[in-house]
Amino acid sequence: MDILFLLVPLSVILVLLILGGLWWAINSGQFEDIEAEGERILHED
């Protein structure tokens, strides 16, 4: 069970990394207009 002492801290770091990624995604505007992106494929250029 000693592996827990490595994996649990690792999981904490992983969550923080994921949150960092989400922060980037939000601030680059990826969640701004979800519907339009889905409809874009239906429209001709």
Partner: protein, 771 residues
């Protein structure tokens, strides 16, 4: 003063020094017209719109209102918590915009002048931050749950103490971002309330979060201490996540509801291409346009101001402004309405009206006024909210005291559940959410709601009184019966007449041309030359029939015998050649195409329909027969109309009046509910509760259906909020409700109210559907 502000700005993140600069810039009177207009045409009195940020519930709206009203020079202030907007009237002699902006900021909120471009940016920043808070809470919650799971399933002794502590510390670390970042809005709002010595719904939530965190932290670092042996990080992160989810969806729904308002308000482009004297175009800001300028509007752009097309033809989308869903064709000389969209081709427009005098600006002003109009039920809910919150605090203390002797930590968590589970928001959101949604939906179909309370009154209406001209009938004329000489067929007569009527703009001429289109276009090819219009009498022209006249009996020289043969008293146009009488055309008022079905829909729902007109009895009777109305009252002066309405009311009827909003203002005002058919009316003058912008009669039964749906949903919401609190609070007080479930319940109860109201934005088709 300046130093005080900068000190405060360290406490309140919303209040930055950039804000202070904006406030000072707003004190410039030239800026005021961007977000204000003169109030009641008084010099020095202004009516301004603000967007307020940081409000979560009705209690917040009251705080902002109080703060605004406390500023000397502010004459009135109304704040709507659902739309996040405020309307205030202030005297420029006493106050400056920076004064009341500062007051809002001091109360812990942030005010922005509405209709200002940076609201959009601010809103986006807000949404991003909110989503980020939600996601932080969500991911941390998932991970904390993982760490909590083993201790739920492991039998005593199965996990080593070290492993257990490791899990708790990891949970503790991941709870920190939730506490310090995600919970930020709860804390800052609760702190503000403390400073102001008042209470709002964030206070109990904050207390709950803090108690849970303190208990769990103490247990983590001192497992065998006084606080017990349980940690509640999973409950904490979970209810924060649920609450934030509720808030986030609420924010999105509010933005969407405010969307129909905003869609209207943001329709004007910020800049437009103006024709320079050398024939080239330059891009200028719309607010720098002047009357008489010529601008080029490209396809896809909105018209920046009311104007006349001077070059090119196109189609325009006027749906939001008139309710007309089909594109309207625009040729040279047509009027373009500010805020309508140019659909097909680039056109040049000469500007006739700008700024606040455009029809668009009047609509926006009306819509904004409605957004802050509070219905009676909402006021009641607002009054209940505060004592309700105090009761919750006492219930939480009572609950903790009641369970204290069994287990400290369990007693504290029961108190937390009480604090979290109660939801005054559902109570205070119930009415405004529904009202705002329905007025947004109605606005999309071309009906402006001017007084929210009228929706409530509309549900009990049993009598509807219609005005005739402009309400049941169109503005234009149409051709009724055609009488001809034996030598001519009806078709020949109307084609001959329209051949020279097409050169005239008189309503009767236009009716003839319109009527001729109903017949097949033959090779008649009648050539007319020398058409002359004798104003007020008729037309003369030369054709194969010789010299011809089209006009009144006197003008055509008809003798009395013939007139008597044609008898009756309807108005007529005659066609004569130099050889004698050829044909007579009856000119009648056209009823609106949807009049018959609309009246029938009303009658089928047991509503008595009457027509009340100042016109002569025969013509009123004729229209009434066509649309199927039995109660006919003609030859009425405005005074008669007023007395008739009042008599009906004295007999105990609930009366709605439908008029054109201009001539029958006092009559409209005296009815329980008034509806104006507003095609031709300056909106600001329309004295009515509702304005049907396109003048469609089908909107009257539609309005009643919508009003009934609205009141049904308001009642459902209020009952739900009451039942929810009545069931959950006692459960939490006796300690049967875990904190996470309390958070879920609270978020869901608010959401349910909002979602229920959102059903109203799905519009039913006019006329059809049960009332």
């Amino acid at each position: 003063m300046q130093t005080i502000i900068s000190l405060e700005s360290q406490n309140l993140p919303a209040n930055t020094s950039a804000d202070v600069n904006v406030w000072v810039a707003l004190d410039e009177p030239s800026e005021w017209t961007n977000f204000s207009q003169a109030h009641n045409n008084k010099v020095q009195e202004w009516e301004s719109r603000l967007a307020i940020e940081g409000m979560h519930c009705a209690a917040c709206a009251i705080n902002v209102e109080k703060a605004l009203k406390a500023v000397p020079g502010v004459l009135s202030a109304e704040v709507n918590s659902t739309s996040g907007r405020a309307r205030l009237v202030w005297s420029a002699a006493v106050a400056k915009p920076s004064d009341w902006m500062r007051a809002v900021s001091k109360a812990g909120y942030r005010a922005l002048p509405a209709a200002d471009a940076f609201i959009q940016d601010d809103r986006r920043k807000n949404q991003r931050l909110m989503l980020w808070r939600l996601l932080v809470a969500g991911f941390c919650m998932m991970q904390v749950m993982m760490y909590a799971m083993p201790s739920y399933y492991a039998s005593p002794g199965e996990m080593t103490v070290d492993a257990l502590n490791l899990m708790r510390w990891a949970s503790w670390i991941l709870t920190l971002p939730v506490l310090f970042f995600s919970c930020g809005p709860f804390f800052s709002s609760a702190l503000n309330d403390l400073k102001q010595r008042q209470i709002s719904m964030d206070m109990p939530v904050t207390l709950g979060i803090l108690i849970t965190f303190i208990v769990s932290t103490a247990v983590t670092f001192e497992p065998s201490g006084w606080w017990g042996r349980e940690v509640y990080f999973d409950s904490l992160t979970m209810f924060v996540f649920f609450l934030l989810t509720g808030r986030w969806i609420e924010l999105r729904m509010r933005d969407r509801t405010a969307g129909s308002l905003d869609a209207l308000m943001r329709r004007l482009p910020s800049s437009v291409e103006r024709l320079k004297s050398d024939g080239n175009f330059e891009r200028v800001a719309v607010r720098n346009l002047n009357v008489g300028d010529t601008v080029r509007v490209l396809p896809g752009e909105a018209f920046p101001a009311d104007g006349t097309i001077t070059l090119g033809t196109t189609n325009a989308d006027e749906a939001l402004l008139t309710g007309e869903s089909r594109p309207v064709s625009k040729v040279i000389g047509s009027e373009a309405i500010a805020g309508s969209h140019n659909l097909s081709a680039s056109v040049q427009v000469r500007i006739d009206k700008i700024g606040q005098s455009t029809r668009y600006a009047q609509i926006v002003a009306l819509m904004e006024r409605v957004a802050v109009d509070k219905p009676r039920l909402a006021l009641l809910a607002d009054r209940i909210a505060r004592p309700f919150l105090l009761a919750v605090l006492f219930a939480a203390i009572g609950s903790a005291a009641f369970l204290w002797h069994t287990d400290h930590s369990r007693a504290l968590m029961a108190a937390v559940a009480v604090l979290i589970v109660t939801c005054p928001c559902a109570l205070s959101l119930a009415t405004p959410a529904a009202m705002l949604t329905v007025s947004g939906a109605l606005a999309r179909s071309g009906v402006l709601v001017r007084r929210m309370q009228a929706l409530e009154a509309l549900t009990t209406i049993d009598t509807i009184v219609f005005d005739k001209t402009g309400t049941l009938t169109e503005d234009r004329m149409t051709i009724g019966k055609i009488t001809t000489d034996v030598s001519m067929s009806e078709m020949q007569a109307i084609q001959t007449a329209s051949a020279f009527a097409q050169y005239s703009l008189h309503p009767a001429s236009r009716a003839l041309v319109e009527a001729s289109k109903r017949y097949p276009q033959t090779e008649l090819n009648l050539e007319v030359v020398n058409v002359q219009e004798i104003s007020g009498s008729g037309l003369t022209a030369n054709s194969i029939y010789g010299h011809m006249k089209l006009g009144s009996a006197q003008f055509c020289g008809l003798d009395n015998v013939l007139i008597n043969q044609l008898n009756d008293d309807t108005s007529k146009v005659h066609l004569v050649s130099e050889h004698g009488w050829l044909a007579s055309f009856e000119i009648v008022e056209a009823i609106k195409p949807d009049a018959i079905s609309a009246i029938r829909a009303l009658q089928e729902n047991n509503i008595t329909v009457e027509v009340l007109s100042g016109d002569r009895l025969p013509s009123v009777q004729r229209i009434a027969n066509m649309v199927g109305i039995h109660g006919v009252f003609a030859n009425c002066t405005p005074q008669d109309k007023l007395e008739h309405i009042q008599a009906l009311q004295q007999q105990g009827h609930q009366v709605a009046m439908v008029g054109d909003g201009l001539n029958d203002g006092p009559v409209l005002a005296s009815a329980h509910v008034s509806i104006a058919m507003g095609q031709a009316v300056p909106l600001a003058q329309a004295q009515s509760d509702f304005v049907v912008m396109g003048g469609q009669l089908a909107m009257v039964p539609h309005l009643i259906i919508q009003a009934k749906r609205t009141m049904r949903i308001v009642k459902q919401n209020l009952i739900w909020a009451a039942v929810y609190n009545a069931v959950c609070v006692p459960l939490a007080v006796v300690g049967l409700l875990p904190a996470w479930l309390a958070g879920l319940g609270m978020a869901l109860s608010s959401l349910l109210v909002i979602l229920n109201a959102a059903r109203l934005s799905r519009s039913v088709t006019p006329v059809q559907g049960a009332v």
